[in-house]
Symmetry: C2
Subunit: 212 residues, 2 copies
DNA sequence: TAGATTGTTAATCGATTAACAATC
DNA sequence: TAGATTGTTAATCGATTAACAATC
């Protein structure tokens, strides 16, 4: 279904389209033009049409886009029709928060295991899944066809743990550790650096204060 | 200290520079050239020099950049020499995770209050701060000079709560709710949409699988 | 058919990279 | 002074926007 080499700028906008289309669908809206969607989302209609056309023509001249069809297509493009098995490494507050936030499950991201190096957490359950010691990771990953690892551990251990995970055959890492991972080509890494985000906010507050 | 209209692309890279320079400083490195930093960070030396020069000349020809000086300057640009008072709205797993992750405090982000609409959480303490009912927000914000609100509540209530916060005089919102907030100009919003991030990862896994 | 709106090409804008003169 | 490396201008590249012919 995909064409080749779509820029990450486009990919980064797809989840937002997906969210708006989902809302429209829930509201019972059947069709929408790029113009209407552009007003709703505060982006140009031109960008919307360009973005969608990277993946083929989803609309119809003189009509616009069918909301449900477009929603389903974007869902497929994002791979949400596939099931992914994930484990969370680091069962502290953040790891538990992500484990518990399982709207993700609706999208095909199934939590299979939780691991932590702190023996005090061992056996603690998050959504019915017990925390295991780190020593179990290798066997668990291989036995349970795990493709995504969520890294919610301190940056001191993140690089080494990521390397192990790659050896065990993981395909993707959702990295919350505040460090850049260096993984082989073909392993996907998506970083969520919360403190970077907070610093950006800090910059924008400061700049605005100074200018107004 | 700031010049005018720095692009968000540049701002977005500053925290990463800051992180690398902090590490170099901790390692006792005194000076670094754009070339060396470029190899370390996997970006072009040209981009590094352009980025820094948006804010004035921090280097010296023939020498490079003084690590500690540059670190301090970026810290100031990011506004990390100022103190911000923040509250967390939504004391569920994610709210608690952020409250507990207080490396932020080192950077001048001081947690002052936690709020939740769930009476069961009332009085529960996170780092010594008790969760309060939502009704208390208005008075608390005004009395405690709060400038940043962290929104870790479901999207159904986020838009309304954000509007109230703006009325109470908040200056910035760190938004973890999966919805776009519509706030007046001058109020800074930084979004962390975790499911968008996971969907991007999903796309990249799928695409890679299909191509190799 | 006439009107609407896409798909797509062309024009513009902005961000990144290359090159080099200035200068420590 | 000679060598190194920045600061900055110019060239390139890519992303966004505008325009319009194709077509439903």
């Amino acid at each position: 279904m995909e064409q080749k080499e779509i820029s990450q700028a486009v990919i980064g906008r797809l989840p937002r389209y997906f969210r708006y289309l989902g809302d429209l669908k829930d509201e019972g809206v059947e069709r929408i033009s790029s113009q209407e969607l552009s007003e709703l989302m505060q982006v140009t209609a031109s960008q919307i049409r360009q973005d969608f056309n990277n993946f083929g023509g989803f609309g119809q001249q003189g009509y616009g886009y069918n909301v449900e069809y477009l929603y389903d297509e974007i869902s497929k493009i994002l791979g949400l029709n596939q099931t992914h098995h994930l484990i969370i490494i680091g069962a502290g507050n953040l790891g538990q928060a992500i484990g518990n936030y399982m709207n993700f499950e609706r999208r095909g991201f199934i939590l299979k295991g939780l691991f932590d190096s702190n023996p005090a957490l061992e056996g603690k359950e998050v959504r019915g899944i017990a925390v295991q010691p780190m020593e179990n990771i290798e066997e668990f990953v291989k036995a349970n066809n795990i493709d995504i690892a969520v890294l919610t551990i301190p940056k001191t251990s993140a690089v080494a743990v990521a390397e192990s995970l790659v050896r065990y055959g993981i395909k993707a890492i959702w990295n919350f550790a505040h460090v850049d991972l260096n993984v082989p080509k073909g392993i996907q890494v998506e970083n969520v650096h919360l403190s970077d985000s907070l610093m950006k906010l800090s910059y924008n507050i400061t700049r605005y204060d100074n200018e107004n």
